[in-house]
């Protein structure tokens, strides 16, 4: 009925849903058809299902293709290696082996050999049947025998059974003969083929051992073929915290794509060359054929250097031993096992795309740390280190943070007890003039290119006020010179002394320039640059300062070099000869600076800028830090940083600039709030110009450090590390352990006092060697002239000796001209140094006796060897021996070196002190060998022990007494103003602890010789 409407089309147009439903509305419900709707929905559902499956299996699993590519590439590389290994085998050997095998194979293929095999086969079938028959007959025979036996005992009739048994016996004998005959035939036949088989087996064995490497590689190749395409992951148990503070597991799946990270097969990862042909040949030789294997970059000012960098998917991680094995990466779950994201950041579990996996996602808090920023992660666990091996930028950044005195204004964990970086100002007017102070404050880098004092950008009036205040606060200083300059001195001699006494290790002057681009307090940038010193200080002050630094500054880091009056006068003449002016002096100090109002203004400026953060200032000893803490600065988001009026273009400029100089800033996700506003650009901007984000309403106080690009970059790496990251138990340096604390304090100590200026200690240091090597160039053995490597010090010397030496050092190595200075360390400081050296070898600070009764037999054999090996060609003993002496006096050995060390040292000197001039008398091509075939039966270990025993027996029983801090007016017991020196002397003269100890028994077993002996001891405190 309803269908009667004539206007209604017969069919609703299904391709136009609006019309379709409009028309459909008029159709009575009972007559409406749902076929098409269901049909369309079914098609949609089906296609979505197909799409979902495809997306899941193909699109969202890019790693499958990567793994397939990797498998292919690895096979290519293995084939290349196999080829190389094969090429290493001598062709004649290869030929001979091949011939031998093929000859034998030929024999084994021959008709006669095959026929013999067939014959044996037939024979063995026959033998089987014969043996079976024989066994059956024997069983029946046994059965019959037992029946017969039974019948006999039962007294029954045995005739038929007996007959049967005899018959069976005869049958058995017959069958046995057949078996024996067949066996004999078998032996004969086998004897024809067995030697061939044996020879073939042997030839194969020889072949396998010659081709062992090739076979191993072929096995790897098979393993690659069999490697399933699957997700690979590392589980880090109890590694991170949930928002509810519960520990949870972290899963890293990075190795699903980065399969090559620990595979030594992929070690050739970069090639730098100016020769394009070389790059091409290298790529070809290593089978980097596809463009996805590598990228080519151009470097250098003229872009003439080409670098081929292999993709991170086909390359070995740099320094595998340290970074991968050293951090237990890829090991089964357990304490201390790290994953990739522990250092690199990124979203570990994600494998759906490169962006997701690397954490370049708006809501992922720890995106991948790209480029050198990965070094920031070292600081999470190793917060006590100063030198990070293999991580140059975090090392430089951390040292700069310390040396620029950043912690003076910004609080930072680990720096709570570190004193201010800059010199005290309480007596400053005794040293410099108000005019100099004014110029210095106005423009520190105008005075010296390597000055670390920042520029506060003060106006002339402000600078005058600050000068007035500083002059005023020092007027009550109690400083008077103790050593008086009597004039004279030879500047040319002074120049020699400057080098020989060791001033050169800390101060830059003349030829010993420092690098103004990296102002780390290290090497000759440690102390101030002396190129204009003559225009800065007075002669009288300088002389007293050289003789006796602690008189002017109680806590100065400048040590006494025990200069004689003549040497100090020479140095004064030399240094005062270096004069100059502030290069950027635009105004000078005029007018009265004693006005109280001016002084008050200066005081309020000093308070506001926080000068006391770095300098000691009279009356400002207890001020708080003036700026914000930086301990979580590294995880600030752009929204938390104030960009002022700086536009995106300027920020982009920073990014471009650093990219151009080869130190690209970290990568970020693309959707930052405003263009180019991110953590990296903000921090770089701030480092380059500390007040760049100031606006009219929001002034900024931070002074400008005028940092170079390198300094800026290094500091951003360090600041990036300040994330306050949670370090779970069992990971990182166990900070609470006393040894670790001792190491952390010691590392700061040796940096703070520039011990590393002269000595290499852990992985770095010994910067003065550069100058010494120049001076003594051409000498075949430069190791004689440089201060020693102190890595083994805690293992090498006796505790008491080290303690006394640090109280007042004396000469040990005759050819080292540089003097070990007298620092006048306090008791606590000596403790820090001693604990540090001992801590490196996990030894506690315990006063230990190393006295033991001399074994006369050993010592007399030792003397024979001592003479025979001509030890006195280099060493001296008392007055006797080498002239000029090259090596330490052996008389002091008894109280200086640990017996355990001496035996290890004699056995293999180069392993203990790489590059030492000491000869390895018992070391020959990687193992111990006798130095004499007869003495002590030619046993090298006993010979070593004998020499050690002899050296011990001839030693003096006293440690040389500490040298005085300084010789003033002929008094050789100069007392330090704070009395520390007397205390040090008292400590050094402590009664010999050995009297309190049971004497250890002399060594008996040879095996004990080269193992560390445990000494009993008493605690010093």
């Amino acid at each position: 009925m309803a269908n009667t409407n004539p206007n209604m089309p017969k069919k609703a147009p299904w391709w136009n849903p609006a019309k379709y439903f409009a028309v459909r509305k008029n159709i009575p419900i009972e007559q409406r058809s749902y076929t098409k709707i269901y049909g369309i929905l079914a098609i949609l559902l089906f296609s979505f299902t197909v799409w979902a499956v495809l997306d899941e299996v193909m699109t969202r699993r890019p790693w499958k293709d990567i793994q397939a590519d990797f498998k292919e590439f690895k096979s290519t590389r293995l084939n290349l290696e196999i080829k190389k290994e094969k090429a290493k085998i001598d062709p004649t050997v290869r030929k001979e082996l091949k011939k031998r095998l093929s000859d034998l194979e030929k024999q084994m293929q021959s008709e006669s050999y095959k026929k013999t095999l067939d014959d044996i086969d037939d024979l063995e079938k026959k033998l089987y049947v014969a043996k079976r028959d024989y066994t059956f007959t024997k069983s029946t025979d046994d059965e019959t025998y037992s029946i017969l036996d039974k019948k006999k005992t039962e007294h029954a009739d045995t005739t038929s059974t007996g007959h049967e048994l005899r018959k069976l016996d005869a049958e058995m004998a017959q069958e046995k003969a057949i078996v024996d005959n067949l066996l004999h035939q078998d032996t004969v036949l086998k004897s024809r083929i067995l030697p061939i088989q044996k020879a073939y087996k042997e030839a194969q064995r020889v072949n396998d051992s010659v081709y062992a490497n090739v076979i191993a590689l072929q096995r790897k190749l098979e393993a690659v073929d069999k490697m399933p395409i699957a997700v690979k992951q590392t589980m880090l148990v109890n590694y991170e915290k949930t928002n509810f503070n519960n520990l949870k597991m972290r899963i890293d799946r990075c190795e699903t794509c980065h399969l090559s990270y620990a595979d030594p097969l992929f070690k050739n990862d970069t090639l730098v060359s100016t020769d394009k042909g070389e790059i091409k040949a290298w790529l070809k030789a290593n089978k980097y054929n596809d463009e996805e294997h590598y990228t080519i970059k151009k470097l250098g000012a003229n872009k003439d250097t080409t670098v081929a960098v292999v993709s991170a998917l086909f390359r070995l991680h740099p320094n595998v031993d340290l970074f991968i094995k050293g951090h237990k990466i890829g090991e089964p779950p357990g304490a201390g096992v790290l994953g990739c994201t522990s250092c690199h950041g990124g979203q570990g579990p994600s494998i759906v795309s490169s962006e997701f996996a690397h954490g370049f996602q708006e809501h992922w808090a720890e995106p991948l740390l790209t480029g050198h920023y990965v070094e920031a992660s070292c600081q999470n666990c190793h917060s006590g280190k100063m030198d990070f091996e293999g991580a140059k930028w975090i090392t430089m950044g951390k040292k700069l943070f310390t040396d620029f005195g950043c912690y003076g204004c910004h609080s930072m964990p680990g720096y709570e007890d570190v004193p201010g970086q800059a010199p005290s100002l309480v007596s400053v007017t005794k040293k410099v003039t108000p005019e100099w102070i004014y110029q210095w404050i106005k423009n520190p880098r105008g005075w010296g290119k390597t000055s670390r004092m920042p520029n506060f950008m003060l106006s002339d009036d402000e600078a005058k006020a600050v000068t007035a205040f500083i002059v005023d606060q020092s007027k009550n200083s109690g400083y008077t010179a103790l050593a008086h300059y009597g004039g004279g001195g030879d500047a040319a001699r002074g120049k020699e002394t400057f080098f020989d006494a060791g001033c050169v290790a800390c101060h830059a002057i003349d030829d010993y320039k420092g690098d103004p681009n990296v102002r780390v307090k290290e090497g000759n940038l440690f102390g101030s640059n002396l190129n204009k010193e003559g225009s800065k200080v007075t002669k009288e002050w300088l002389f007293d300062w050289l003789k006796n630094p602690k008189n002017y500054l109680k806590h100065s880091r400048m040590p006494s070099l025990r200069l004689t009056d003549e040497e100090a006068a020479d140095l004064t003449a030399y240094i005062m000869g270096h004069t100059g002016v502030n290069d950027d002096a635009k105004s000078s100090l005029t007018g009265d600076i004693t006005d109280t109002k001016l002084i008050k203004q200066g005081e309020s400026l000093v308070r506001s800028y926080g000068c006391f953060g770095c300098h000691e200032i009279n009356g400002m000893e207890k001020e708080a830090k003036v700026s914000v803490a930086l301990n979580t600065f590294g995880k600030k988001t752009p929204g938390e940083l104030f960009f002022g009026n700086v536009d995106g273009k300027t920020l982009e400029g920073f990014r471009d600039h650093f990219k151009k100089i080869g130190l690209p800033l970290g990568e970020i996700e693309e959707s930052a709030i405003h263009e180019n506003e991110d953590w990296y650009t903000w921090t770089v901007g701030k480092m380059r110009n500390s007040r760049i984000y100031a606006t009219e309403r929001i002034p900024q106080k931070m002074p400008n450090f005028q940092m170079s690009d390198q300094e800026t970059f290094a500091l951003t790496v360090f600041l990036r590390s300040q994330t306050g990251a949670f370090v779970p138990a069992g990971y990182g340096d166990p900070a609470k352990e006393p040894v670790q604390q001792a190491l952390d304090r010691g590392r700061m100590f040796v940096h703070w006092n520039n011990c590393v200026g002269c000595h290499k200690i852990e992985s770095a240091g010994g910067y003065v060697a550069k100058y010494i090597n120049e001076k003594f160039a051409g000498n075949e053995n430069l190791a004689y002239f440089a201060p020693p490597f102190l890595g083994p010090e805690g293992d090498r010397v006796q505790e008491q000796w080290l303690h006394q030496f640090l109280s007042g050092p004396f000469k040990i190595r005759p050819l080292v001209k540089l003097r070990m200075p007298t620092y006048g360390f306090s008791d606590a400081e000596i403790g820090t140094a001693t604990n540090y050296f001992l801590g490196m070898h996990r030894r506690p600070f315990v006063m230990t006796s190393y006295d033991y009764p001399v074994n006369q037999t050993l010592a007399s054999n030792g003397k024979l060897l001592f003479d025979k090996l001509k030890c006195l060609s280099c060493h001296t003993m008392g007055g006797a021996g080498a002239n000029p002496a090259k090596s330490p006096d052996l008389e002091n050995t008894k109280k200086r070196l640990r017996p355990e060390w001496i035996t290890q040292w004699l056995a293999h000197p180069d392993a203990m002190m790489p590059g030492t001039p000491m000869t390895g008398f018992w070391w020959s091509s990687g193992h111990l060998a006798p130095a004499d075939p007869e003495i002590l039966g030619g046993d090298p270990m006993m010979q070593i022990k004998a020499v050690a025993e002899y050296v011990h027996s001839i030693g003096k029983d006293v440690i040389p007494s500490p040298t005085p801090y300084a010789i003033i007016n002929g008094s050789d017991k100069y007392i330090l103003p704070n009395g520390d020196y007397e205390a040090a002397l008292a400590r050094a003269e402590m009664p010999n602890a050995s009297m309190l100890l049971p004497k250890p028994a002399p060594l008996k077993k040879q095996s004990e010789l080269l193992t560390t002996k445990k000494s009993k001891g008493i605690s010093m405190r």
């Binding site: 080829k83 190389k84 090429a87 070389e278 040949a281 290298w282 070809k284 030789a285 089978k287 054929n289 090597n773 003594f776 160039a777 051409g778 000498n779 075949e780 053995n781 430069l782 190791a783 025979k868 090996l869 001509k870 060609s873 280099c874 002239n883 000197p909 180069d910 590059g915 030492t916 001039p917 000491m918 000869t919 390895g920 008398f921 018992w922 070391w923 020959s924 091509s925 060998a929 130095a931 004499d932 075939p933």
Partner: protein, 264 residues
Amino acid sequence: MKTLSIFGIIFLCFLTSACGKKQQEEEAVYSSSYKVIPVKDGATIRGKVKTDPSGNFLSVIETQKDQDVCGKSHPNPGKPNSDGALPNCIVGIEHITEGKDFAKHEYALDQRGCDFQPHVQIARIGSPIVVSNSDKALHNYHITRNGETLINEAQPEGAPAREVELKQKGLHVVTCDVHPWMRGYIWMADHPYYTLTDASGAFALSDVPPGKYKLTLWRDSWSAEEVKNAKGVIDSYKWGKDIVKEQEITVEAGKDVVVDFTLP
């Protein structure tokens, strides 16, 4: 037309990639930067090294101990002949990337009569050097390079010969700490274009491929000085600095080049 050309390009790509693959598989193993090639049209660089014979040269180096083994003195190996010709100088080409193959040679260093024999030698990097002690005395071979100790091992009398491997290029000085007058030199080379001047001070480098090169001359401690102690007895020797001279030369195919050096 367009489709045709695309097909053509694809076809070409196939061809080139196939060829490329074949070439790679045939390629030899790549190890050192120096490549041995057959040298056609090679030239010889020859010349003489001279100095002023009237200079202040010690004629002998006196020994100070173990004279029963070492003898009283040794001739100074650094002293020029009467006509000024200098034997034992090293002449070589720096940075040559391809050329002739090394001649097969076994390298040895003997401690004989308290002297290193030979006094100067050129050895190939990676080849072992057999060190032996023929003396009835203890010696140690203390090998340094640029002032840095590389190997320092003692070899008592009668000890078996040992093999030493040096892996860096350039000059290595061998000394004995027991007998301070003993000095030997080993020049480690990564290519065969190094030679020693003979007894008449002459040298020749054969089969040099045409090209521009820098010729280097090295001459050892030519001005040894005696160091006397308070009693006026010789205590030790102070060795002068090594002399290194460089000269740019151009080698044309088949044309021999004559380069003479005169040292101050």
